[in-house]
Amino acid sequence: MLELCGISKRLGRRSVLDDVSLSCPPGEITAVVGENGAGKSTLLRIATGILEPDRGRVLVGGEELSAGGVTARRQLGYVPDSSEPLPDLMVCELFALTAALKRLPRPGEDWPWIERLGVRPIWRQRLSTLSFGERKRALVLCAQLGEPAVLVLDEPSNGLDPGGATLMAEILRERARAGRATLLASNDAPFLAALASSAFRLGGGRLERCTD
């Protein structure tokens, strides 16, 4: 499970997160909504250890994430919204690199997720030649390596075709049934309504539980 305790973060003179606490229990899909620029992506990047909070702690499975906690990070998977990791790498190379960095044995090319996520046709293509949706599928595939206990997704339905969005929802539901925690940020209301166990609204640096 993922826990954010009293997280505060200033970016320049603006306070983006002010004493934010959030818990993503196992078997649940926790959603964060908010206007553009509210700080959703910042919250997710802090939750994955990419950005350090000014104050507060992030715990993954009870392990501290800050200060480079490797044990906590091994339980994490992250799907960014718009990152383009090394455009000259092929999808299979990004996959191999992620497996190596996570210190996991690299699954073979018959790994079922490759077929399921529709990555097979683009397996040997450079990331720079893929569409936004195809890149997202490749990033989801890499995040699924090691079937992480906590999966963090930034705008998971963004850029996916209707079939892709349905597949994504199905994958997240399966994760929940398997007792794994998921944290996602999105403004796709129908997608969230069909999925999220609990939703929080981020605004003015504060996080409030959505009642609607």
Partner: protein
């Protein structure tokens, strides 16, 4: 034909400003070290009692191999700058706006002409037609290389340029290259946003530091082939200078030959390291989110970046030593000594400069200043230490490379890297 209105002129001025601020600025950042190096080299070669520019152009007019080598060297060395000017993605949005195509092409041609200026100035010493021919042929070569010619008309223009380069008379070269200039520049501009899917061989495998290093190497091989060619040119230039220095100063004996070879190998090897470290460190920055997410230790990040740059520099160094040994007809032990010394120099200087540039390249406006400073300090310090200490300087460089690797490793919270991440975060949050 009516005169343009004030509104049309204003719109054109806006196009000039936008392309200058996007493609022009990116090309300046990438090309500034290169042009600084060219200016420095030209000052040494042609300044004071040095060579006359007309001597070079006369020799090039008389000798076909020299003319072709000079042309190829210039085309390849400045290809990355031309690529940025014509294919910067941030300029693509402008194509969706109602801006006439000729305005885009005119501004791009003006930018490219500025990029070709040193080459044009060199040839202009041999006459205005020679200068115009150099301008036209360099632009044609860059356009045709960047468009990857496939249509018959493009292949014909490329062939015509080849025929023109074989002619000693500049008027003929000018006529033969003008079709290539028009066709090549237009095709390169039109094809810039196309994303083609080349066939590649998977390179990334193995444990974390190895896989990370191979990822950077794959990026260099696939996206920066021109930079690798530039390294080859620096090495060749270093070999020629070393050979001339050994011959003209009558240097004989193993020890003096080894010292002079090592001293003169350092500037081209550092130029190679500076050329390669930039893209490798940029790749590392692009992967930052994945590296942090997976908890990759800073030591592995440092090792992966340094190993890639140092390996290529080590190979360049080995090639330098072996070529110099061959040119001076050295015995096998001296040849091995020259080759081994230069290879070790490449490995150590590549490692040290990559660490130095990690400090210099922070993604802000002063990157170029800091990179200049790092490279100049490295060239002066390495050359001096090699000249004074001989091969013992390798020990000093090993210590310096180790220290810089440790001291300038990717730092933790509160450091400039974290600040840079926060700046990126601010920009991302402000984006619609």
């Amino acid at each position: 034909m009516s005169l343009p209105t004030v509104a049309e002129l204003r719109a054109f001025a806006a196009v000039v400003r936008v392309l200058g601020a996007t493609a022009g600025r990116s090309a300046f950042v990438r090309g500034a070290p290169l042009y600084f190096g060219i200016a420095l080299g030209a000052a040494v070669l042609f300044g004071g009692n040095g060579m006359n520019a007309a001597t070079v152009t006369d020799l090039a007019t008389r000798s076909l191999p020299f003319r072709l080598s000079l042309f190829l060297a210039w085309t390849l060395v400045t290809l990355p700058v031309a690529r940025i000017l014509l294919t910067t993605p941030s300029t693509f949005l402008l194509r969706a706006l109602p801006v006439p195509r000729w305005q885009h092409l005119l501004v791009h041609l003006a930018h490219l002409s500025v990029a070709e200026l040193p080459f044009v100035l060199l040839w202009a010493r041999g006459g205005a037609v020679a200068g115009a021919a150099a301008w036209s042929s360099a632009l044609a070569a860059h356009g045709l290389l960047l468009c990857r010619p496939r249509r018959p008309v493009e292949l014909a223009a490329l062939s015509l340029l080849g025929v023109g380069l074989g002619q000693a008379r500049p008027g003929l070269l000018l006529s033969a290259s003008l079709p290539g200039l028009v066709i090549g520049t237009r095709a390169a501009w039109l094809r810039a946003p196309q994303r083609e899917a080349p066939r590649d061989v998977a390179l990334v495998a193995g444990a974390a530091p190895f896989a990370l290093g191979l990822s950077y190497l794959a990026g260099l091989l696939r996206g920066h082939g021109a930079l690798l060619l530039r390294c080859l040119l620096y090495t060749t230039l270093g070999c020629v200078i070393t050979w001339l220095a050994l011959r003209n100063n009558g240097v004989t004996g193993a020890a003096p030959t080894a010292v002079l070879s090592l001293t003169l190998a350092t500037p081209p090897l550092l130029a190679c390291a500076g050329t390669l470290a930039g893209p490798v460190l940029r790749s590392e920055r692009q992967l930052r989110w994945l590296l942090l997410c997976c908890g990759t230790p800073p030591a592995q990040r440092v090792i992966a970046t340094c190993v890639v740059v140092a390996t290529v520099c080590g190979l360049c160094g080995a090639a330098h030593g072996a070529t110099v040994g061959y040119l001076v007809a050295a015995e096998l032990p001296l040849g091995l000594r020259l080759s081994g010394g230069s290879a070790a120099a490449g490995l150590l200087l590549g490692t040290a400069l990559t660490s130095g540039l990690r400090w210099a390249l922070r993604g802000d406006k002063r990157d170029t200043d800091r990179a200049f400073l790092s490279i100049i300090v490295a060239v002066v310090a390495a050359s001096l230490s090699a000249a004074l200490m001989g091969e013992l300087a390798l020990l000093l460089w090993a210590v310096v490379a180790g220290l810089l690797g440790v001291l300038l490793a990717p730092p933790a919270q509160g450091s400039w890297e974290q600040r840079r991440a926060e700046q990126a975060e601010r920009r991302a949050e402000r984006a619609p």
